[in-house]
Subunit: 598 residues, 2 copies
């Protein structure tokens, strides 16, 4: 089966890429864009900036200490789709591997001298994930030979030490390599990496040890903390280890951390991370809209984690968060043309950004950029979109569960469904039975879908949030129709979210909406909204929303603090909201998700 | 005259340390604490962490690339107060100077290979400021010889290049060295450093060139931007150059930048800087309470700039901002015992911090720390408090202007006043004439002091914000009394300050107040306040305030966004506010300046 996560235990079993084929639609379009544009874009940029050249021994070496991992993420993306460029790129990588399996263009000759920042095991992690993809989608070849040698080197070097890497990811990768090869030492190595973290295993850095989750053993932590991508990759590895070793305490610990994080440390978009300085989760309820870091890679890592927890438990809440993150982080992070990307995904931009046509030295989220000095996000998008179909549905024995809705075909054990839907623009999802047998088919009902119905056999059944199940002896021509009410709705923050007090946002179905103002005209800082029913407008195949708003008069005080509050009345203006994932596709704009209320 | 800034032109002339002597009181106590505790604390720590050892050639070298500057700031502090430890420390520094005047323990042998981050000219700047202090307070000696040789080296090396330093400060230092020595090439060198910046003069870094103000020539910028300390030190140098060269365009440019910055980019405390990642000003109205960086050094740099602009123009607004910053940043940054310091000065702390007894690797502002990896702030506090009396009053010809009120004696040109006051706790300031002559005496009336009166000759005169002037033929025994109403007042933010929408703060006189909650009990996230008249409580020589407040019930939702806003009613609780500068002196606490309104 061709799937990035294949646990040997758990409530649900994954379906692979061979079982879920997408046709044109919200996600099908993006998966095609990835295959046709994004993967090549990434490869061309990594040639241009010299990161691929590093494997050819070009000097001086270019890129940051972790740039090898970017080539590996691209190899993973290529592996899922059996991309024709894979072989040559894999051969380039193979030539840089040393006799004993060591492979790193930055640290060769100075191996393992900086566990805090060296990223060597992190790079192996992404290399191994590429090899897992290749093994599952294709079989043994040059790349997988490189990967096995690297993994064996890691086990030989680290099995009996107390060391680990400043950046997790090797843990999840090793478990998956165990799953695909059956080699138990990979699982044991992953288990030890998870267990030794937080004893502590790493040295002092300029940040708190929570930055790389070395403040506490994984099973003793209560919430995700520190660098968001590190925290979420580590949690993925911990779940994988817990599932394979039957360690229910560890699984419960990660579930509890997820619960607390989701209750207090997640942006409305599903984005995670509030600090620019250390790319970290902030404190509980520290969720600034303007400085929301919400790194694209953290969104992807969160989707990876939710998927693992969903498979382990069958709990729809994990799919709910994954959906929110897919539509509002993953889909946002890539331009509609697939040639530029967000690193950070803020929920507010005050000042329209200058376009960046080349390498963005920062991570600021004012406009998408073609490439970054730290360009983890584009390749991460590429590998995620390449494997995305495997995230959309799963099996519960012979029963089928569909988590996410986009046009395509889903096959499972003699059952074949053709999914037709305009979701998320409409809430109607129709599953046409193409090949039938008796069994259960469940469709996820998101928590906002009050009044949803599931219609089959000519009867409409009320469908509560969670999974709605239809059971029958399915025959070709049968239809199951899910109707999710995707009316626009106003959403208010918990009062502890200081950053957006006095504001509300609009959501519609799984989509978060935002106001976008070209050249900041009207100035969004002077706009107030009234939380009355928005009016839907169908524009370019998307749904936009008009909300009642006012433009308050300009103020030009010499000091921004006053002895009396200003009135917030102004003249009525039309305010158009667009789906957040589409913002910034038309040049420099100001933007806000959270709208101050009058 | 012994004063850090001695312009040869401008509306006001400084008074020196010999003319302003403080007795016990708000600032006199802190100046004494500096002399008795802080200076020694800094010296001991810099021995302990090895930064002084670097000058002795101890290897490996310790500290960051700019650590030499810390010794120079301490030398400046010692110079103002003729500290007995100065000579030995100066001799240690002198031994590290090279034949041609070059002096840097980090870059010797690799001189001037990194203008963006090397900080070599920055270090000279602080060295020169120490030398200026020594020349004015004492006269020529080892230190001043080192300084002249270093300054001459700088002029020889940089007069005819286009280079400058990533971190400004040498500009203001060279102007002052010109002022004290009369050597015109120092002024010319300073002028060139100011002019060549932003052409651009520096290379690419990971931040926008605005980070080190190299995006625009100084005279073309419209607002302070980028790294706050860099921006403000550069502005000081630009004002100094403008004043000495009669460049009114340049002076007007800095004034306009100040105006716009003060209207849009300053925290209520006077603190400047909103980003942790680049220690920078944010966009207009980007003023987060929790992530307010408000670096202590930026506060000091702002006081230095306001002082220069005040001397140049006589405009009381500069003294108003300086006062706000002195009471709410400078006084906050140092513990009541003088042994720990804030680097960042946030306006909100959600989670009580763990105490740090040693070197703080970060800059987080949850509790004061004895020392930091980047320990610019303690030495900056030391040199500022050592010269603080020179900031408190000035001369306008034979007239005297008093900007800031604290007990002490002020002499000017045959006039001597003894100041008695309990300010800022009370608003009554009495100036007793000790030595008299005919002339004008002006006292500053802050903008919040509505209804102030100036009483002299037995008559009370209404005193408008700005300066209130008393003119008479003063005789010993005469008294001038200023009565400033220091009633507590609620303050509301401009609605564009997103971070504190729906909140208000309490001020009283020049002091900002805050709620401080030991172990976060009551939890400040659940407290709402009503903006009704606070009740004053006299505690430990300070005034605390009780405000009407409510504690809302705990919420434990699984997701922090809801379809309806929560009610904000709760049970009434007493809420004590303390002066912001006193927070965090009693162990770990949560804290907030901006209180959510019910």
């Amino acid at each position: 089966m061709v799937s990035p996560v294949m646990p040997s235990a758990g409530v649900l079993s994954p379906l692979g890429l061979e079982a879920v084929r997408l046709s044109p639609g919200f996600w099908g379009d993006r998966v095609a864009l990835n295959r046709e544009v994004i993967i090549t874009h990434c490869q061309e940029w990594m040639e241009r900036v010299g990161w691929i050249g590093n494997f050819r021994g070009v000097t001086p070496r270019r890129g940051r200490e972790f740039s090898d991992s970017e080539i590996y993420k691209l190899l993973e993306a290529m592996a899922w789709s059996d991309h024709p460029a894979l072989d040559e790129l894999a051969a380039t990588v193979a030539r840089a591997q040393e006799e004993d399996g060591y492979l790193n263009t930055r640290w060769s000759g100075r191996r393992y001298t900086d566990f805090e920042w060296g990223h060597e095991l992190y790079c192996y992690g992404h290399l191994i994930q590429a090899g897992v993809a290749r093994l599952r989608a294709h079989g043994e070849d040059t790349l997988t030979e490189v990967v096995r040698r690297a993994a064996d080197h890691v086990c030989a070097r680290f099995m009996d030490t107390e060391e680990t890497c400043g950046h997790p990811v090797v843990e999840a990768a090793l478990v998956e390599l165990y799953r695909v090869t059956g080699t138990e030492r990979y699982l044991e190595m992953a288990r030890r990496f998870v267990e030794r973290r937080g004893r502590p295993a790493l040295g002092e850095i300029q940040f708190h040890p929570a930055y790389f989750q070395d403040d506490l053993p994984v099973r003793r932590a209560r919430v995700f903390r520190g660098h968001a991508v590190r925290a979420l990759y580590l949690a993925c590895g911990a779940v994988d280890v817990a599932v394979e070793t039957g360690d229910t305490e560890l699984l419960q610990a990660v579930r509890a951390q997820w619960e607390r994080t989701v209750a207090r440390r997640v942006h409305l978009t599903g984005g995670m991370g509030s600090h620019h300085s250390d790319e970290a989760f902030g404190e509980d309820f520290e969720l600034p809209a303007d400085r929301a870091y919400s790194e694209t890679c953290a969104g992807i890592a969160s989707i990876m984690l939710s998927h693992r927890l969903l498979l382990a438990t069958g709990d729809a809440r994990y799919a709910d968060l994954a959906e929110r993150t897919m539509y509002n982080v993953l889909a946002t992070a890539v331009a509609l043309d697939g040639r530029s990307f967000f690193y950070a995904n803020p929920l507010q931009v005050r000042v329209p950004a200058e376009p960046c046509e080349g390498v963005n030295h920062g991570a600021e989220g004012g406009l998408r950029s073609p490439w970054f000095d730290v360009s983890c996000c584009p390749n991460n998008i590429a590998r995620t979109l390449a494997s995305l179909p495997a995230y959309l549905a799963a099996a519960d024995g012979d029963a089928l569960r569909i988590h996410h809705y986009t046009p395509g075909e889903i096959r499972h054990d003699g059952l074949a469904l053709r999914i037709e839907t305009d979701y998320p623009w409409s809430g109607t999802v129709t599953a046409h039975v193409v090949e039938g047998r008796a069994g259960r088919i469940s469709l996820r009902v998101p928590p906002w879908a009050e009044g949803a119905t599931l219609t089959y056999g000519g009867v409409a059944h009320p469908a509560e949030p969670g999974y709605a199940t239809a059971e029958a002896d399915w025959r070709p021509g049968d239809r199951i129709r899910l109707d999710l009410p995707v009316r626009p709705r106003w959403t208010f923050p918990d009062r502890r979210v200081d950053a957006v007090r006095g504001c509300a946002a609009v959501e519609r179905g799984p989509l978060v909406y935002c106001a976008e103002s070209a050249a900041d005209e009207p100035p969004l800082a002077r706009v107030t909204a009234e939380p009355l029913a928005p009016v839907e407008r169908h524009v370019d195949g998307a749904v936009e929303l008009d909300v009642p708003a006012a433009l308050t008069p300009p103020e030009d005080d010499a000091w921004p603090y006053r002895s009396d509050p200003r009135a917030t009345t102004g003249r009525e203006i039309p305010l158009r909201l667009i789906p957040y994932h589409r913002w910034g596709n038309r040049g420099p704009v100001s933007m806000r998700v959270w709208l101050p209320l009058a």
